[in-house]
């Protein structure tokens, strides 16, 4: 399918308070096109809490429950359970949360909801930072990246949230990237048809947070995939499968592009290259990614 084949109906209306051309709005727009009208969104504190526009207005055409930062998955459990008891069928209950609300403060509620087999889709929009509060580190921030709380570059590697979620043995897990909207659309469509907990994580480069210019968003996203820094996969019935460029990397049909190409595009990694090249840290990043792919190969 092509972008022009996506449904025409819009659920994110003009008048939102996001940065012009914000990649996250594009992601949400695509996701809601796939989900359709019969959808209830649960949104914790983060970027999307801000861009809905303010009371008593809204720029979204589905009902939304805003909830505290760490509480989204639990609140969605309640929504899902309430709908079930009241006999309201075929409504997608969807959490739309940031990486902070997912990897960090909301991980307990998420784990609980997954373990309880809650019928919902949890979508983590991963911009690898707390952007709402002005670009601080999260558990998803990669090694060596600058944020306002990792001024010399983050000293730790990001967690593998996908693996944590898969360890709950839920029916469906997928990763996506803003640069491949058709892929994202297909994955949401698939999740919609499955009962039980579904988890989708979307990598979304954030120009102000990653320090690159707005017109490069799609390119930065693509390079994340092509360098292997961000894998595209699905997990169904206990099995992982890779798709798109990631499939080719996994099968050894193409070589990953050097990670430097991706790092160099982003000001947040500047201290790896200036004032002089930091061989040691670049090597550690390269090794980290290589190990990740070896691990994937052993699982598939």
């Amino acid at each position: 399918m092509a972008i022009k084949d996506l449904p025409k109906e819009e659920y994110v209306l003009p008048g939102s308070a996001a940065c012009p051309g914000c990649p996250a709005t594009i992601a949400l727009r695509t996701v809601l096109k796939a989900l359709g009208k019969r959808t209830i969104l649960v949104i914790p504190a983060w970027w999307t809490a801000v861009i809905q526009s303010w009371y008593p207005h809204t720029s979204f055409k589905v009902p939304i429950l805003n909830i505290a930062f760490e509480a989204a998955a639990a609140a969605a459990s309640g929504v899902s359970s309430g709908l079930k008891v009241l006999g309201e069928k075929d409504i997608n209950v969807v959490v739309w949360a940031g990486d902070g609300g997912t990897y960090d403060i909301g991980i307990q509620a998420l784990s609980g909801a997954l373990e309880r087999n809650t019928d919902f889709i949890y979508i983590c929009y991963n911009n690898q930072i707390y952007s709402n509060t002005g670009i601080q580190r999260s558990g998803a921030t990669p090694y060596a990246a600058w944020t306002t709380t990792t001024v010399g570059g983050k000293r730790e590697f990001n967690k593998d949230m996908g693996a944590i979620v898969m360890a709950h043995r839920i029916p469906y897990v997928a990763t996506a990237c803003i640069s491949y909207p058709e892929d994202l659309y297909k994955k949401v469509m698939k999740a919609k048809e499955i009962r039980g907990p579904k988890y989708i994580e979307i990598l979304t480069p954030c120009p102000p947070g990653w320090r690159f210019s707005m017109d490069k968003t799609v390119e930065v996203g693509r390079l994340a995939v092509e360098t292997g820094a961000w894998p595209l996969y699905e997990y169904e019935n206990g099995k992982m499968s890779f798709n798109g460029f990631s499939k080719l990397i996994l099968e050894g049909k193409v070589k990953r592009k050097p990670i430097e190409e991706w790092l160099k595009m982003q000001g947040r990694f500047r201290n790896l290259f200036k004032p002089k090249r930091d061989e040691e840290r670049i090597r550690r990043i390269e090794e980290f990614i290589e190990r990740m792919w070896e691990d994937f190969r052993s699982k598939v």
Partner: protein
């Protein structure tokens, strides 16, 4: 109507079942645990029509209640002490979202050190969250108040969550006889929840997004008005319950022998029940003292307290302490009287962390006041 002899917690579970609750989300903590265990048994036996979400924490319990209530479900949770404290953020959220969730809170002290016994510091710490707060003094009152709480919270002029508090172990684990009406009678008293707002795919609203300083005071004022409305509606509901079932626990206050007295004793919860015995004993000795048991802390029965103070001086016993100040009830009563009436108010704190308070202790405290030997505000019998 039949009589059941059971513990406060099992009676609470019975009330939840008979209120036809749609969603329960709860997490176990002593001394609340036997409520959730009993509800789980109902679910297992097919005797509970709703869904029971076994959440992984109290924070999630309240969050799940918010989600369920926001789609129109009648929703309940139960907790105690540290569980209630963990919920704190979501208590504010539920009240500001104007969701009529009902909770049983089994009053228990706060650690460290770990103390599982009765103490009201857990719920006192939640006074400012916007929840309506009841304090019960018998298992009958627990049953009746939980059913009434749904009617009150769901009332179109109220739309607020309601916390039904009662003492850990003293009531939660003590079997007492309770009159239980028939299901049809409960259904008549408490019809299905009428919804003021909900998440509806056919009428998509956004709830809880950014609100600017110009609008925010309006939602606070609306909550304050809802509490003022609740004040009158609590009275109506208490009287309706009496008419239907012949049981009456008082309204915001339960007045006991308060006519023509020099002193009125005020306290809450099981201490209120013990105070009745103390009042009887003191009256036998010719003391002119009555009891006003405070059933409702929010909305605070300001008018009623002022009325009492027009004719008598007040003695207040708190099972809680706002450290650095005094007991909560003591503070609030004095604040209510300021500029209205010039009565004397004497206070004590007693029974913290489950320390036993007998009717003799209560009489002793009151007699000190009445004999002019009040030694100043203090925590009673600390060394005893």
């Amino acid at each position: 109507m039949r009589i059941v002899v059971d513990t406060g917690n099992h009676i609470a579970a019975k009330a939840v079942q008979m209120a036809r609750v749609d969603v329960v989300a709860a997490y176990p903590i002593t001394p609340q645990t036997t409520i959730v265990e009993r509800i789980a048994e109902y679910v297992e036996k097919g005797e509970f029509h709703g869904d029971y979400i076994c959440v992984e924490s109290e924070h999630s319990a309240m969050s799940a209640c918010i989600g369920a209530s926001a789609v129109g479900a009648r929703t309940f949770t139960a907790t105690s002490s540290h569980g209630l404290l963990l919920m704190h953020e979501m208590l504010h959220w539920a009240a500001l979202a104007r969701l009529p969730i009902v909770m049983a809170n089994v009053n228990r002290a706060i650690g460290p050190g770990w103390n599982i016994w009765s103490d009201q510091n857990d719920s006192i710490s939640q006074r400012d969250t916007g929840w309506i707060q009841f304090y019960c003094s018998s298992n009958q009152e627990i049953f009746d108040t939980i059913i009434q709480a749904f009617k009150l919270g769901e009332h179109e002029k109220v739309q607020l969550p309601v916390m039904v508090n009662y003492d850990g172990f003293i009531l939660s684990h003590t079997s007492l006889p309770v009159k239980i009406p028939e299901q049809e009678e409960i259904d008549e008293f408490l019809p299905k929840r009428k919804i003021k707002w909900k998440l509806d795919i056919n009428n998509p609203i956004t709830h809880g997004n950014i609100i600017m300083p110009n609008d925010y005071p309006k939602i606070r004022r609306a909550m304050q008005e809802a509490h003022e409305n609740a004040h009158g509606i609590i009275k109506e509901i208490s009287r309706e319950w009496e008419e239907r079932f012949g049981i009456y626990h008082g309204e915001l206050l339960e007045l006991y022998k308060c006519d023509d007295v020099d002193y009125v004793l005020l306290s809450m919860g099981a201490l209120g029940a013990e105070s009745k015995v103390a009042v009887d004993e003191m009256r036998k000795k010719g003391r002119k003292i009555g009891l006003a048991r405070v059933r409702v802390l929010r909305p605070f029965p300001k008018k009623e307290v002022i009325e009492l103070a027009r004719h008598s001086d007040l003695i207040v016993i708190d099972r809680n302490i706002s450290v650095g100040m005094e007991g909560a009830l003591f503070t609030e009563i004095k604040a209510s009287l300021y500029g209205e009436v010039d009565a004397k108010v004497y206070g004590y704190i007693a029974g913290l962390g489950g320390k036993d308070v007998t009717f003799k202790d209560i009489s002793k405290m009151c007699e000190r006041v009445m004999d002019g030997k009040y030694g100043g505000y203090m925590i009673f019998d600390v060394e005893g």
